[in-house]
Amino acid sequence: MKNDLVLRVVGKLLIPFILLFALYVQFHGDFGPGGGFQAGVIFAAGIVFYALVFGLDNARKLMPDRLVETMLASGVLLYAGVGVAGLFLGGNFLDYFVLDHDPIHGQHRGIFWVEVGVAVTVCGVMLKIFYMFASRGRDGRDGHSIDEELR
């Protein structure tokens, strides 16, 4: 698909908006529909779209494997870390009321960081699974990968 002019132009136009929409879904999740999971998936879908149009190698340059794997674990750690922070501040595990002087602000802060953790993990997992499947043919005997197949 690399040589398809229409796809390249449309992709270049759309991908920034897909990523921006993911961020909007993430940070507006308190007020409108959406949240961490949806934002993570939409962000990953944007990167996957980029990989399909411009090739897997370019996507790997954009989001290296090391970064994706770090995201995988750090999201869960961030989520659990919010819980442990509640413990240290004198509440229960995952008790957000103690995270700020104002309990309501504490709730908002807790929800915010928890959603960030969910988004980071989900995005990392989706990208990792895609990378793993898409690069399988490349190392194998048949030697052609998904983007060659679709081209």
């Binding site: 879904v25 999740g29 308190d30 007020f31 409108g32 529909p33 959406g34 949240g35 961490g36 999971f37 949806q38 998936v41 939409i42 990953a44 879908a45 996957v48 399909l52 794997e69 995988l72 674990a73 999201g75 869960v76 989520y79 659990a80 819980g83 995952l94 957000y96 309501i104 709730q107 908002h108 807790g110 929800i111 928890v114 959603e115 953790g117 969910v118 993990t121 989900v122 990392g124 997992v125 989706m126 990792k128 699974i129 895609f130 793993m132 499947f133 898409a134 399988r136 043919g137 190392d139 194998g140 005997r141 048949d142 998904i146 197949e149 679709l150």
Partner: protein
Amino acid sequence: MALLVVVLALTRNLFAAVVLSGIYSFLMATVLVALDAVDVAMTEAAVGAGVSTVLLLGALHLCKSEETKPTHRPWLPLSVSIATAGLLIYGSLGLPDFADPQAPIHQHVTPRYLQNEVEVPNVVTAVLASFRGYDTLGETTVVFTAGAGIIALLRRRRHGKHDGDADEK
């Protein structure tokens, strides 16, 4: 949608099946929007129609694109699924009416959730992240486990490429 499912069951071309299931996911997303479950609809459109279609296409290019003829008769699985569907439909007859405010599910903890003591306008987010924080932590861990499992299963091939050639493909 029903027509789509019949076509999906009858088609032997796996590429067509993958694309049809993506279309099915989009239709499902519109149904969920009609049911006022916008958060779920968003997930369905992004995961069901977007990412999983791409993943299935990726899996498809590793195997043949035509489904082989089944080697056995489908009667036993068919009867099991028809029996299960019959039981489910029979069970759904006992459910309260759709959107009935007196339904048990709207009497138990929902009023407390709707008091919205955390003052987050989107109640779904409040329930997911705050009231059910433990559940969501578990779900995130499940997603993480899926990713870790994929890494554990597929990455070994790259390191063990020279001795693991026999079981490739």
